[in-house]
């Protein structure tokens, strides 16, 4: 069983994902269990969704979200939700927003 979710990009990250602001995904965890985490999502985004070769603008040290990119889970700061270990629920809306661009 996989969960479906919406992933949104803003703050310039759209450029790494074929200029899409929002995509719908169906996601299972890497170990086949029913509870994919944000960490699973990030791997999937890097391996299957990203259209740019500049992966380092999104992740560092493997698959860790780069500092300066905000992650909001249903509009809540991921720091309140366990960050990469958060278990994604059916229908979740997850936003990756870069703060790295000029203003």
């Amino acid at each position: 069983m996989a969960v479906s979710l919406t992933v949104e990009f803003s703050g310039g990250l759209e450029a790494l994902f074929n200029n899409s602001r929002s995509i719908n995904l169906s996601l299972a965890s890497r170990d086949g269990s029913d509870s994919p985490t944000i960490a699973d999502l990030v791997v999937r985004l890097c391996e299957k969704v990203m259209t740019s070769k500049r992966r380092e603008l999104f992740v560092i040290d493997g698959y860790h979200v780069r500092p300066g990119i905000l992650v909001l889970i249903n509009d809540a700061d991921w720091e309140l939700e366990g960050e990469e270990e958060y278990v994604i629920q059916q229908g979740d809306q997850i936003l990756f927003a870069s703060t790295l661009h000029g203003g």
Partner: protein, 361 residues
């Protein structure tokens, strides 16, 4: 198990409180009613959206009043790029001006550097902001100010290496000239806490001790500019600016300039963001350090003599202002292309940089 007083080994498991004590609160730490939505980087507090809006706006108001940034009846231009910082700045200033009755008249002032695919799009955002915030908008372009040179033309001629130098010098003067055109003596910009920390770090790494304490000043009035600059978002974290813009659904534009950004600034920026992850207060701490570092000044022999540029009449401590020095090089290059049909000498860029270094900034 009691922890031995002299232990130097971390014993995480044994020093944690018993499990019956909740490790985190489930309600906002300010109102104790609603669900928290974010953790404030500055304080670590977990707070809800309404409380966030309140403290975010209140802190900027406190900065404005404690530093006496504005006076009643003042006309102030907001340097507006259409990006997140200046959009949040314009929005918050409008809210605060009404809520606390500052009696200030705000105008949006935008610079059109002439960068297709970047500035033309962000200017569309500013034009919408003009209606959203009901503020007049003035746009001044490099092309009209600088002998018909847009940044696109400049990069086509000098290449992609020194272009930030040109853009920086030109923008500074363009903001002043725009303000002058509007009869305004005060420009506010959207520089945030992360930008300030980044600049402190860059000055430190460059050994630029003269600018180290100056760069954190909230109001700058430099000798070679007739216009006062101030930074009401000086203590506002970039993370909170982005969250505020997101939660308030503000209309802003986010794309990086298409020309290569300064590599050094980018490195400093990455370092700041990495530090923030480990220690969120690092950003305000660096600003505090910058503010407190006041190095003894060498006694300068001659006081800076102010005059005006022989070419354009702009206020300058040199015979010819920085912008005109750059323009001279550009125009010489353009003439060479026209006369000989040959390209611009690459060495000329380096020579110009050298010449600029000798001018006082």
């Amino acid at each position: 198990m009691p922890r031995p007083a002299d232990s130097t080994q971390p014993q995480a498991a044994s020093i944690l409180p018993p499990r019956s004590v909740p490790l985190s609160t489930t309600t906002c730490e300010l109102c104790h009613i609603r669900k928290p939505f974010l953790r404030r980087p500055k304080t670590g507090q977990k707070i809800c959206q309404p409380c966030f809006f309140h403290v975010f706006e209140r802190e900027i108001h406190n900065t404005i009043t404690s530093k006496n940034l504005f006076y009643r009846g003042e006309r102030v231009a907001i340097g507006a790029s259409g990006g997140k910082d200046s959009t949040v700045l314009a929005h918050v200033l409008k809210v605060l001006n009404e809520r606390y009755d500052y009696g200030v008249e705000f105008v949006l002032l935008s610079i059109d550097e002439g960068i297709r695919g970047y500035r033309d799009d962000s200017l569309e955002t500013v034009k919408r902001n003009k209606d959203q915030y009901v503020m007049p908008l003035e746009i001044v372009s490099y092309k009209e100010l600088y002998d018909d040179w847009s940044m696109d033309d400049i990069v086509a001629q000098i290449g992609n290496r020194n272009n930030c130098t040109y853009c920086g010098v030109f923008r500074r003067q363009a903001l002043d000239r725009g303000a002058k055109k509007l009869g305004i003596k005060h420009v506010v910009t959207g520089h945030n806490a992360d930008d300030m920390a980044e600049t402190v770090l860059m000055n430190l790494l460059r050994g630029d001790t003269a600018r180290l304490d100056r760069c954190t000043e909230i109001v700058t009035q430099s000798a070679d500019s007739p216009v006062k600059r101030s930074k009401p978002l000086k203590f506002t974290y970039e993370k909170e600016i982005v969250l505020y813009a997101h939660y308030k659904k503000l209309d802003y534009f986010s794309t990086e300039c298409i020309y290569s950004p300064e590599a050094f600034r980018g490195t400093a920026r990455t370092l700041i963001k990495n530090l923030e992850t480990v220690r969120p207060s690092a950003i305000v701490d660096i600003i505090r350090s910058g503010e407190t570092f006041a190095l003894e000044r060498k006694k300068s022999g001659t006081a800076l003599k102010l005059g005006s540029c022989e070419r354009c009449g702009y206020i300058s401590s040199n015979r010819i202002c920085k912008a005109c020095v750059l323009l001279e090089g550009l125009n010489a290059g353009r003439a060479a292309v026209q006369v000989n049909g040959v390209g611009y000498e690459p060495d000329e860029g380096a020579a110009l940089s050298k010449r600029l270094e000798h001018l006082s900034f």
